[in-house]
């Protein structure tokens, strides 16, 4: 067994950019994203994979990046909240809907919530309220009571565009 601090090389596509990074075997993907890549929009809100604040898209699927070791993501294509738009660029539809419907307060859960809502809408373009609430059950928000988050996602239902 190699030492936990031994370094391994991983190659990833992150927000369209190719990255090769040496990481410890025990390094979680979320820590690689936040610390090695400096993409601090992905947050850590718990240590038991309950809160969903660290949700990113891995090969198009919503994944809690605290459940994945960085070495397991070798070869994957990852989209983080920063990949949806740049500062000054137009907001993506999910971000714009969150703004429009006041679906964020402290903003800490927001990136993870948005990264869960996108695949939810991709898999089911016209979800009913129950499906939205169930689809977001992996993400905890403590500020909004979810009411306006559900409104924001509903507003994109059946719009037929990429969320």
């Amino acid at each position: 067994m190699s030492h936990p601090a031994a370094l391994h090389t991983v190659t990833l596509d992150v927000n369209g950019t190719h990255k090769t990074i040496a990481v410890e075997a025990r390094r979680l993907l979320v820590h690689l994203i936040r610390e090695e890549l400096g993409l601090t929009g992905t947050h850590v809100g718990c240590d038991t994979s309950q809160c969903g604040a660290c949700t990113v898209e891995i090969d198009g699927h919503a994944v809690k990046s605290c459940t994945v070791l960085a070495v397991m993501a070798d070869g994957a294509s990852i989209t983080t909240i920063e990949g949806l738009t740049g500062i000054g660029a137009e907001l993506s539809p999910i971000q714009a809907a969150f703004h429009e419907h006041h679906a964020l307060q402290c903003g800490f859960c927001t990136p993870g919530m948005a990264m869960s809502a996108r695949p939810l809408l991709k898999d089911n373009p016209d979800p009913c309220e129950h499906e939205i609430r169930h689809g977001l059950a992996g993400n905890i928000c403590r500020c909004t009571g979810y009411h306006n988050i559900v409104r924001a996602v509903e507003s994109l239902a059946s719009k037929g565009h990429q969320p």
Binding site: C46, G107, F108
Partner: protein, 790 residues
Amino acid sequence: MSDMTPIRQIGRPLKRREDLKLLVGKGRYVDDVRLPGMLHMAVLRSPHAHAGIKHVDLTAAKTAAGVRLVLSGKAFDGKIGPIVPNWVIPGSKVPFRPVVATDRVRFVGECVALVVAETLAEAYDAVGLIEVDYDVLPAVTDEEIAIRPDAPQLHDNVPGNITTIYKVRGGDYQKAAQEADQVIALRVVNNRLIPTCMETRAIVAAPEPDGTLTVYIGSQVPHMHRRWIAETVGIPEHQLRVVAPDIGGGFGAKMHLYPEDLLCPYLARELGVPVKWWESRSESHQSTSHGRAHTENIEVAFRNDGTILGLKVATLGNVGAYLSNMASGGPTVNTVNFGTGTYKIDNYEATSRVVVTNTVPVDAYRGYGRPEGAYIAERAIDAVARHLDLDQIEVRRKNFVQPAEFPYRPYGSMGVMYDSGNYQGLLDKALAAFDYDGRRKECETLRGSGIYRGIGVAAYTHMCGMAPSRRLAVSGFDRGGWESARVSIDSSGRATIYSGSMSQGQGHITSLSQIAADVLQIPMEHIDIVQGDTRQVQAGHGTFNSRSMAVGGSSVHVSSKRIVAKARKIAAGMLEVDEKDVSYSAGAFSVPGTDIVPLTFSKVARMAYVGHKLPDDVAPGLDETVFYDPVGMGSPSGVHLAYVEVDPETGIVDILDYVAVDDVGTLINPLLAAGQIHGGVVQGIAQALYEEVSYDPDNGQLLTGSLLDYAVPRAEHVPNIRSLFQETPSPTNPIGVKGIGESGSIAAPPCMVHAVLDALSPFGITHLDMPLTPPRIWAAVQSARTGASR
């Protein structure tokens, strides 16, 4: 020339100005702060609820990879601390609370030792190498058991484990009880909660080249944290800069002084490099303050027509192992002062006892005491209605304080005054929106077919923005009740406002701009708001107690008024007219009834800074600072209704509808106001149905140690919230606002409990304690059925 229609932003549902950075992942929370050479602190926490510390062996940890420093509690003896509360009810016995335990631990999670290392992983690794030899002692976690004569004692100076006894009385309860047709008693538990901000606590302390220290901390109260850290660590306050960047929720938990807040600044100064501490979620459950944790014994005296004659209350507030920041005040003043709720109960007698136990310290959490107080009043009146088999709405209506009675002092209280309100109006609006009569019939009809639906109602009022400052002295606070705002106009007429309030998601950048825009009569885009940096913001108390619009907003309002007053003087001079003849609207000074060309605010601002043509009594500049100390406190109120269906076979509660009608005074931004209600109500529903901190009563182990065990609700566990408002402006401040943040978490717990009890009334169930989890409901139904079949 500008359009002369006055700018009116208050009352508009404007979308938030602060959203954009948060939406694109550019929010900056404390854990995002990374500084060159930064070291990481990790804390060894007590695994025992109560134990003597015989020996701490740091040897192995000291030689581990990357480790720079390992210290146990003895290293801080006489150097920093103790941690002292900021609100001490007169007569309280304050236990000694070291920053790091030295000879005894009193709760699972108390700091015992720490490691500073180059990476967080190395710090955690080394913490695992520290060996502590404990002498385990008997522990007590329950407040009712802790006051028994044979209970384990926590502190030598707190005999019987009671730090504080607080009494309130008005009228003559004994006489009322004698005159009453009936008296009933009930015991209610206000379950212990974990505030659960999605961002856990974190702190970075960084020594600066000029000898000062910068502390990044997710604080609701940056200036108070500056003072507390300065006084406890021994740093001159002016050499300490506290920066609160974006904060991922506070709910009260981030307004207290914690050991880590002191350790990082101390260690950063000792080591000369930045030191960071980040709290893991599981660590948070055993180190960040909990909320509620009361047991209340209630006696209510009433006539058979439902008129309440008197109320007697004896409460026990469990505050954990030490007196945290405000811990002697929450279970006492904040709770029993409000125990009569929205009802006219002239004969009132209440005693609160504040009890220490071997648990995490309990302190402010969204509502702090007012949810507990409202729960007393509401559970009492609901029990009376149920006991007399009268309509729950009509019994409330009969006992409400009447609109003409405001300002109203309940039970002749000197300390409590409800400034304004119209509870009947709230109730009528709620009933209409809810279709109460239709649903009442629906409940009756469905019961025949074995479907158990119920309607819950709760009314509340409280007081926000504790003030004025001299009143806080009487209550035992070591702080004031004012808030500061500085409005600084630049030479182009744009405003930067430095506010002592501190948003943790409430949206102050938007709402304070709306307040300022209406006075300054300039566009929202011309106003910036600065908070959370003690080097930029002159002074402040921060955000808690639903105070930031009533106190912080009024401060912005008053300082903006001073700006306009000065600008008017300058404009009058420039226009060569009398100041009295100058009117101001939509960014232009004009002289009505003349053909004088109006002067724009930006030209006046320019003149203020070049100073070429100023009246003799006017100094250059356009910059005003106000320390606004309110004359009184606003009293928000509300009536909430819930409609539920309970499955007696599974105990599952399905929430079919929730209507909240709240009177928070003037609505500054209806969109943001509704957001506050949604969030607060869901936290209240969470208390009523899901959340409860559990301790093993035998050994004091925390059983809800992570988010796997502590049931914060998800989107699918809660309903849509229909939030409506009634506006009765508060006469206590210039904007007419009252406060909103705590409303939902005050009203929702009794409202939900009453709805479930209403649904279960066919089973003869009259009382259940929160949280109303499926097992608890199922067991009650089973026991009712067994009893009935006997």
